[in-house]
């Protein structure tokens, strides 16, 4: 297995992008990444696309071929693969691209993620998103995706005394970061009271505890480390990328206050990297719900189990804190076009490690972690990247 680097990144703004179609989004992000890597199309060996549900959002399957075609890569008949694992589609696509280059099968690949969620009504979009859970045994009985996370929150409060305010603080922090990110869907700071008073979605979670429906795309270019410097002066090395699964239904777990998939993937990634959580300066974690970030920072090993709420309230995950979590604004403020999210996390980490994150730059960023989750933790992928 040889070393792999990220040599190019690109992303669209995330939000309700009425003028941009799915094809437009995929193409935009892809071209930005390829330009950033100063590549010619003929240099690209393969394309990996993360997308959760184009079939239901825009009645289009076979989207890897579509993106390859519209980015002009299809004329070279490159292999194009779509990867799906609900919210973790992007992270998994990244890992597949990494494995393809690490194995020696390909030298340069483009990994993209895209989702167009606003071409259908809100109610239907939420139903599509719910298919990340167990449709036959959870959703059909009325358990929506937010409802499942609300039950996680209630149990976390019951087991560890986590408070409603601590959970809400995740949104406050991420909006603060998002305000520093010109590509974020929401660039406005919010108060804790706003989160606490927001309309209820599934108690105790309200509108401000949930990531928005978004359109967007992100892409990265991966290259074998030995060739990386011919494309960029700031290659970022992929130190590890590990993945784990767990039961589809939340009720089949032995505990719902941690995601074992995150724990297993993280442990494996740190083992392969020969690093510990203390070595990480910044992390992009999967905060599709505020409570999810609290579980994430515990399960990844940044804070002891049950202490995630307190750590958040104490500012330890703020820019400038012990570990800067979701400097992009996270899924909550940056946006969550499902298939694009995992790749956008990599884009943020790379920008930070290159020192190009502007007002949200983490000082002395050397090692970054990306954490992408599918469903209520049925899939998790953890990737570690470092300055090369």
């Amino acid at each position: 297995m040889r070393e792999v680097a990220v040599i190019g990144i690109g992303d669209t703004k995330f939000g309700e992008l009425w003028d941009l179609s799915f094809r437009d989004l995929g193409m935009q992000a892809g071209l930005l990444a390829v330009n950033d890597a100063k590549l010619a199309a003929e240099d690209i060996d393969a394309l990996y696309v993360g997308n959760m549900s184009a079939g239901r959002f825009i009645e289009q399957e076979h989207v890897a071929a579509l993106i390859a075609d519209y980015s002009g890569l299809a004329r070279d008949n490159i292999p194009a693969t779509r990867i799906e694992a609900a919210g973790a589609s992007g992270g998994l696509a990244f890992r597949e691209g990494y494995l393809a280059v690490a194995s020696g099968m390909h030298d340069i690949v483009v990994v993209g993620g895209a989702e167009k969620m606003t071409d259908v009504g809100d109610v239907f979009a939420n139903e599509i998103q719910s298919s990340a859970a167990d449709t036959q045994w959870e959703v059909v009985f009325g358990a929506t995706f937010p409802a499942l996370h609300a039950m996680i929150a209630r149990r976390h409060m019951h087991e560890f005394g986590t408070t409603r305010e601590q959970i809400a603080q995740v949104a406050v922090k991420n909006h603060k970061h998002g305000a520093l990110n010109p590509k974020a869907q929401f660039q406005r700071e919010i108060e804790l009271s706003t989160v606490l008073k927001s309309p209820q979605v599934a108690e105790p979670l309200g509108v401000f505890d949930c990531a928005p429906l978004s359109d967007g795309a992100a892409a990265v270019v991966l290259c074998s480390m030995d060739k990386a410097r011919s494309y960029t002066t700031k290659p970022v090395r992929i130190v590890a990328s590990s993945q784990a699964s767990d039961t589809l239904a939340l009720h089949a777990r032995s505990s719902i206050t941690s995601f074992k998939s995150t724990q297993v993937a993280a442990r494996e990634a740190f083992r392969l990297a020969r690093k510990t959580p203390a070595d990480v300066q910044l992390a992009e974690v999967h905060d599709n719900f505020t409570i999810s970030e609290i579980l994430a920072i515990e399960d990844l090993g940044f804070f002891p189990k049950g202490q995630g709420g307190k750590a958040t309230m104490d500012g330890e995950t703020m820019l400038g804190g012990k570990v800067a979590v979701n400097t992009s604004g996270g899924l909550k403020a940056r946006g969550d076009p499902i298939g694009a999210t995992g790749v956008a996390q990599i884009v943020e980490i790379v920008q930070q490690l290159r020192g190009e994150a502007g007002r949200r730059q983490v000082p002395d960023a050397l090692l970054g972690l990306a954490h992408n989750v599918g469903g209520t933790g049925a899939t998790a992928v953890v990737s570690l990247l470092e300055v090369a």
Partner: protein, 134 residues
């Protein structure tokens, strides 16, 4: 028209059909062919059984933003219930004021309409939970 996909699950939706691993005793709902603990050792040893339908609330929430087919019920309570046989199920919790729902509350299943395939389509029936009458 998803008639077969729902009809297939009727034994579990109507009668709580489950399986018990003949090797370790772990109960699975819905039924599965192989025990996730014993793997190979459980093949051919999974025993059919019906859950009794009684358990206690493990966690719950009150849903305010509902999918289209549940609009008429909102706000409604969804609970994860640990059945006495050890396996956990997820469904609505009815006949109870949301503020009276507590973790640890004893509940019992009852048959209710779960959904329908539109006003002209097949009606799906299945289990919901109600507080156990003392």
């Amino acid at each position: 028209m998803a008639t077969a996909r729902f009809w297939r699950e009727n034994p579990s939706r109507y009668n709580l059909k489950a399986v018990r691993c003949g090797n370790c005793g772990k109960v699975f709902f819905p039924p599965r062919a192989v025990c996730s603990v014993c793997h190979r050792k459980s093949i051919g040893k999974m025993q059919c059984m019906n859950l009794k339908g009684e358990g206690e609330v493990y966690s719950y929430t009150v849903v305010h933003e509902a999918p289209s087919q549940f609009e008429v019920l909102k706000p409604y309570v969804v609970a994860m219930v640990k059945m006495d046989e050890g396996v956990m199920l997820t469904s609505q919790l009815i006949d109870s004021d949301p503020k009276d729902v507590k973790i640890g509350m004893r509940v019992k299943t009852t048959l209710r309409r779960i959904g329908e395939d539109g006003p002209g389509g097949v009606i799906y029936y299945g289990y919901k939970f109600a507080p156990m009458k003392v």
